[in-house]
Subunit: 329 residues, 2 copies
Amino acid sequence: MKMVRKILPSIIASAVFTTTGIAGAEDGFEDYRNRFEPLPYLPPIPTNNSLTEEKVELGNMLFFEPRISSSGVISCATCHNPALGWADRIPRAVGHEGQVGERNTPTVLNSGFLGAQFWDGREPDLEGQALGPIEAEVEMAMALETALDRLTEFELYQEKFADAYPDDEDPINADNLAKALATFQRTLNTPNSPFDRYLRGDISAISDQAKEGMVAFVDNGCIACHSGPAFTDSRFHAIQVPGSTDLGRYLVTGEESDKYRFRTPTLRNVAVTYPYMNNGATETLEEAVAIMGQEMLGREFDEATIDNITAFLHTLTGKMPDFEVPALP
Amino acid sequence: MKMVRKILPSIIASAVFTTTGIAGAEDGFEDYRNRFEPLPYLPPIPTNNSLTEEKVELGNMLFFEPRISSSGVISCATCHNPALGWADRIPRAVGHEGQVGERNTPTVLNSGFLGAQFWDGREPDLEGQALGPIEAEVEMAMALETALDRLTEFELYQEKFADAYPDDEDPINADNLAKALATFQRTLNTPNSPFDRYLRGDISAISDQAKEGMVAFVDNGCIACHSGPAFTDSRFHAIQVPGSTDLGRYLVTGEESDKYRFRTPTLRNVAVTYPYMNNGATETLEEAVAIMGQEMLGREFDEATIDNITAFLHTLTGKMPDFEVPALP
């Protein structure tokens, strides 16, 4: 567990070190560059779930814990696989007994920056999100009470929950499980991508082609929805991508106007979180850019524009976060 | 990949550092101690598959690669999970579409020291073993040709195979896949356990109870089969454990005398690789010791003997090996 204990100090040290950019350097794109924000080293932390080393360590264990699935072999890390951009790189998630879910697995990277969780935004925050996949019949298929009972059997979890929630008499409960998982996820960020370094003043951090892509991204209006540090407004927009009949947010609200609406996905690390769209039917970034042009903006991008935007999107791949493969009990 | 490149130098450095024991110290158990061998830092390396950094790195990637399974989510690391002693801690392996296999997943830790692979010894070495689970219908369920085609699609694998097998014109083939996986597995060793330190002369590395357990282990004849550095003779012995009708080695040879015979499992890290026996039906180490006494030795161990042997077995848990969660393409 030693490495986990080092995560917070290392985040702080990195932040101090790298926010000092090369101020003043200019390349003529200031008006465009000023439309963007670098990714902070940590997302907002909710007041009722402070970020502590103990919760990060516990959350890290739970994230890799397959015994809170009914088969005993599926953990959060099965679909949110750190080897695969913390997603799964298949079109739609495969879960309990090989069942295929309806949607593509979103990466958990930078998910603390999102204002709504899941493709349909059915949960507002990571605490709300964390328990969903455990109980979902097509994912881990485990009743929450059974999962908690299973954890309680292990002395090590009794200790780690007590360490993380020292004021709770009976700390192994659903709330605390969710809070620990959410806390761990809030450490899975990818700051300091080439584009972040560019925004901080290192004008050679991205190529001229990527800068042209940035211009196209702004001028064509991609930035209207893909805005803010995580490149998402966390709002819902109607889109029917090839092959999908998914009603999206309508399934949550029942409002006619929400049919086919989905939360804008983050574009951070988009180059390493293929395939794309809510149904994962789009394999390449170039295709995804073309489809978004057609469906959301009503434009047929020419090949050069697609290539430039794609080059720009590649600059959003940051440093993968530190974590530990835990020694589970 | 930087960490992987450090594995070999670190193995060598550790070996140099720790083989220098506290020579000469005596505790009166020399006659017992001399019956055992410390675990070397590396197992024997076959002459036709030299251990190179490039193969270790490639094998590490392949070990965590779920896209060589037909579901796209099962990798070697699913059942040989580094968080769970490189095994799965469930009775019988769960694989493709949630199918439950016939046998308990053996750990890959120190598997390079075994003279026969699988419970029934149907392969003599790790090269032979490596491809089995990819093709097995109840495990990864992927035709080998399809797996190789899938790997060939990724430029990164083309590079890494070429790096690992520089003399091969067409390096992505079944032989080289098996060799890389076997090479990686040969780095997954757990030397320097408390018992190894004890054998090297640090007489306080294990408790008095564990020493009593060592005596019982020798005097009762456990050591007859659980011998050598990995605590296995790699031979086949007949046993019918509770709940099992598995014919074992007979299914490989068809010889009547091989009915119910299984390869002696390693006892290295046995405390962290529960549950036990070929069908995984035995949950605790204490039960496992009692059953082995009854079935293999015809003895009813008293409680103190069981506790002592269990304490001894706990001293066989070594330092978990270095590895990297790879960044897959």
